[in-house]
């Protein structure tokens, strides 16, 4: 009896912490890498690897965004639009206003965080369904992105300031490297460590899990549900804002449709990595794996000359299969418990 109980509980630990899913998809990631490596030996070339990592970095950041919000039991559809808004506001400030790049970053970030606060207030305070609330802010933020430069993509961000003046900005977010690793990758890593620590080791982080698991029990335990929800949405908007800067630095200009549908990539990265859309569970390490699978698929399929249409179909199927696996594992664990 005791033995059975131990066995079940151990399984529960793995399932609940989302570790099972992380492990499963990690194997999937390794398998994908091997397949692509066999199909095309260049896949593992130093150049491709480092490019691949740089492609994964923004996906990881928006994955963190969505994971935070999903763990609270909500969803953030405004991520992609905040990316676009961030790119457009920053590049317009620089290209049209001649504002110092770092001051532009600061101003833009304030705007992005405001969207996060608005999302949190609408969902937790006004009690709008998160899908609807963030659908609204998604549309509004995209509108602001378009409005920023009067419905045009911006000119080069160095137009007024001079290319030299914006080079520091572009290097910091995209082109520069440190210890032979691109800065973009460093940024994603550092932010991942910060937000992993925040959600796993701080009071606010614990509250995020608690309201996602049982909002009423959390409230009766003294958790401030409104503040916690806002925190999650603000983290989400922050990461999305940073991705906007990365895209702006990469292109050297602002594109109005930057970040389009990123919110859905973000859902995919988080969910493949074991974050539950029902809230209350998910690990930041899972989001790394989820984002990596997404990036490897995009990169590998492109490398293998698979047509875009097929790429979409394959990626979509993988999202479904990876979550289906998790559901099967978890219902399996549950039926065992009932037998006990």
């Amino acid at each position: 009896m005791l033995k059975i109980e131990n066995h079940v509980s151990l399984k529960n630990v793995i399932a609940v912490r989302g570790m099972a899913q992380v492990l499963t998809v990690s194997f999937g990631l390794v398998a994908l890498c091997i397949i692509f490596g066999v199909l095309n030996p260049n896949f593992f070339s130093g150049e491709n690897t480092i490019n691949l990592l740089r492609q994964i970095a923004p996906i990881l950041l928006i994955g963190i965004s969505q994971a935070y919000v999903l763990i609270t039991g909500n969803i953030d559809l405004s991520i992609g639009s905040v990316v676009g808004m961030s790119t457009m506001i920053a590049s317009t400030l620089m290209s049209k206003g001649g504002v110092n790049p770092w001051l532009s970053v600061l101003i833009t970030m304030v705007a992005c965080l405001a969207v996060g606060v608005a999302n949190g207030l609408l969902v937790a305070k006004c009690k709008l369904p998160p899908f609807i609330a963030t659908l609204g802010t998604m549309t509004i933020a995209r509108g602001i992105a378009q409005l920023a430069n009067n419905n045009y993509n911006t000119d080069s961000i160095g137009k007024i300031l001079g290319n030299d003046a914006v080079q520091g900005f572009r290097d910091f977010f995209y082109y520069g490297s440190f210890l032979n690793v691109y800065n973009t990758i460093w940024i994603a890593l550092v932010l991942w460590f910060v937000f992993n620590f925040f959600i796993s080791s701080t009071r606010s982080g614990r509250h995020i899990y608690a309201i996602g698991s049982n909002v009423e029990a959390a409230r009766l335990s003294g958790v401030n549900v409104v503040a916690t929800t806002i925190t999650a949405y603000v983290v989400s908007a922050f990461c999305a804002g940073v991705v906007g800067f990365i895209l702006c630095a990469q292109a050297g200009m602002g594109a109005m449709d930057a970040g389009n549908t990123y919110e859905l990539y973000a859902v995919a990265a988080a969910v493949i990595g074991g974050v539950s859309t029902l809230g209350g569970q998910g690990l930041m390490i899972g989001t790394v794996i989820g984002a990596s699978i997404w990036g490897v698929l995009q990169n590998g399929l492109q490398f293998a000359n698979v047509a875009v249409a097929w790429r979409n179909i394959i990626i979509g199927a993988i999202v479904i299969v990876s979550v289906l696996l998790d559901v099967i594992v978890r219902t399996g664990a549950k039926s065992k418990k009932v037998i006990k």
Binding site: E5, N6, V8, S9, L10, N12, V13, V16, R17, S201, T202, R203, S204, R206, H207, Y209, A210, S213, N214, E216, A217, A218, R219, L220, S221, G222, V223, N224, S276, G280, Q281, K337
Partner: protein, 503 residues
């Protein structure tokens, strides 16, 4: 001549940790209203759920219309046999019309297309038969509860139900509505239908009931014609239970006044409630289901809004609008419904225990001190002997008793002044109950005020110092636990404002 249409014999049913029914028998004749009486947890609802196929029986035989049922009943099969249950909480789709609700799941169609007219016509026929004045095309949500209930009855009749189970049908009705309901019940009776009637409002019985069956603690006590038994006998048979469990009451001198609740009003369920709690005492709150006890505790704790009322803790009036306000001042609540309000079932045991105590274990930057967290958790696990594989297992993996211990233990790492326990022993085994009692005693000895809401008379009499009795949202009396009897409490707990008009 009436015939026996339901014969349930030797029915037993166990849930994990509790024996809900033990060798219970129940008989119902056609054209008869049978009252099924008993305290909370006596097993009335469980028995009726077995009859309607919601639960399966472990042992026993069921005969319906003389036909033995050997396999397990399912809700669908019970419906086919003519059994219908009118639940206490109405199960209707508010956005659909009366007719749509009546025919939900059995919609009549023509060539696969819904035939609204047929359903409306048929619904009207049934409603007219019952002399109920409701238009079939009315939206359910536009009807008052009483009319919704009548639609439920019409729905049951539309499935050709001949056996109706009514679970507390009058609890939400006004006196005029009750008269109307009784008229319908009498009409059904005249048509030869059998009605099992569950109610706590004993004064209603005289108006409609033919026979009574009394249950207690999952056991069958007696069944008799209503005219052959007095109200006093009914009450004493409902409670007539000797206190066999040992209740480890401890004595200690009563200290100063800790908590004072003045004229608390919160919705319909809490009306003008005032009481006091002193240091070193356990104040029990007794009452029947729906008496407003849980609502009172939730309003005090700030979980639900209150209209008026003062909460005074150690002489200081508190402004409590959210639970965090109460927690900060040392007034805490271990809520009734573990799964719904008490636990984050998908979080670990550790995370559940420390959830309200993160302020104690976090540094200034809000970073969790894992060492302190570990200490609090292992203290709680040891003090409460929580049985678990390890503290990282999710809370849902625990048994009911151990889940309850987690819910209670999370509050005791804090220096609380008043702890409110709402039904802390519901659904847990005897050993775990005793541990909870000991814990309350320990708090009492530490000079903490304990409020103890319970539906089980023996334990509330055995553990509390004073008992407040509630009925219909009001406190109807206070008794000294050492001298009070169960009948005394039940009498106070059924002191409803008289809603049944004299006829």
């Amino acid at each position: 001549m009436s015939e026996c249409i339901v014969k349930m014999e030797h029915i037993s049913k166990a849930f994990p940790g509790v024996k809900a029914l033990e060798d219970v028998s129940f008989y119902l004749n056609s054209g008869e209203v049978m009252a099924l009486l008993g305290e909370n947890g006596a097993g009335k609802s469980t028995l009726m759920k077995i009859l309607s196929g919601v639960y399966t029986r472990d042992e026993g035989t069921i005969e319906v219309f003389g036909q033995g049922i050997h396999e397990q009943l399912t809700p669908k099969k019970a419906q086919e046999m003519g059994i219908a249950i009118i639940h206490q909480e109405l199960n209707m789709c508010g956005h659909l019309t009366v007719a749509e609700n009546i025919f939900l799941g059995r919609e009549s169609t023509r060539f696969g297309v819904l035939s609204q007219d047929d359903m409306n016509k048929e619904a009207k026929r049934i409603l007219d038969d019952l002399k109920i004045d409701i238009k079939p095309s009315t939206m359910i949500s536009d009807l008052p509860v009483s009319k919704q209930q009548m639609v439920e009855i019409a729905k049951a009749l539309s499935t050709n139900a001949k056996i109706l189970v009514m679970d507390e049908p009058t609890s939400a009705l006004t006196s005029k509505e009750i008269d109307e309901l009784f008229r319908i019940i009498r009409q059904l009776k005249a048509q030869g239908k059998g009605i099992a009637y569950i109610s706590h409002r004993l004064e209603e019985l005289t108006h409609i009931v033919d026979s009574v069956t009394i249950m207690r603690d999952g056991k069958f006590i007696l069944t008799t014609r209503f005219q052959d038994i007095t109200m006093q006998e009914i009450i004493s048979n409902m409670v007539g239970r000797e206190i066999k469990e040992k209740f480890p009451r401890v004595e200690c001198p009563r200290g100063g006044k800790l908590l004072e609740v003045k004229n608390l009003n919160a919705g319909r369920a809490v009306r003008d409630v005032s009481f006091e709690v002193y240091a070193g005492e356990i104040v029990g709150i007794a009452g029947l289901m729906g008496a407003g006890r849980t609502e009172t505790t939730r309003a005090i704790f700030g979980a639900d809004p209150k209209q008026t009322g003062e909460i005074i803790l150690t002489g200081k009036p508190l402004k409590i609008s959210r639970p965090i306000d109460a927690i900060k001042h040392g007034l805490v609540l271990a809520p009734e419904d573990r799964k719904k309000d008490g636990l984050c079932v998908r979080l670990s045991i550790r995370e559940n225990i420390t959830l309200p105590n993160l302020d104690l274990i976090c540094g200034r930057l809000g970073i969790i001190n894992k060492k302190t967290e570990h200490r609090i958790v292992s203290d709680a696990v040891r003090n409460f002997s929580i049985k678990m594989a390890n503290a990282e297992a999710d809370a849902s993996s625990l048994s009911g008793g151990n889940q309850q211990k987690v819910v209670v233990s999370k509050w005791l790492a804090r220096d609380s002044k008043v702890v409110i326990f709402d039904e802390p022993t519901r659904g847990i085994d005897v050993a775990a109950k005793v541990e909870i009692y000991n814990l309350m005693n320990q708090l009492k000895l530490q000079g903490i005020g304990v409020v103890f809401v319970s539906s089980e008379m023996p334990e509330i009499l055995g553990i509390s110092d004073r008992i407040l009795v509630m009925c219909d949202g009001r406190i109807t009396g206070e008794v000294d636990a050492k001298t009070a009897t169960q009948s005394e409490i039940l009498e106070l707990a059924t002191r409803f404002e008289n809603k049944v008009g004299l006829q």
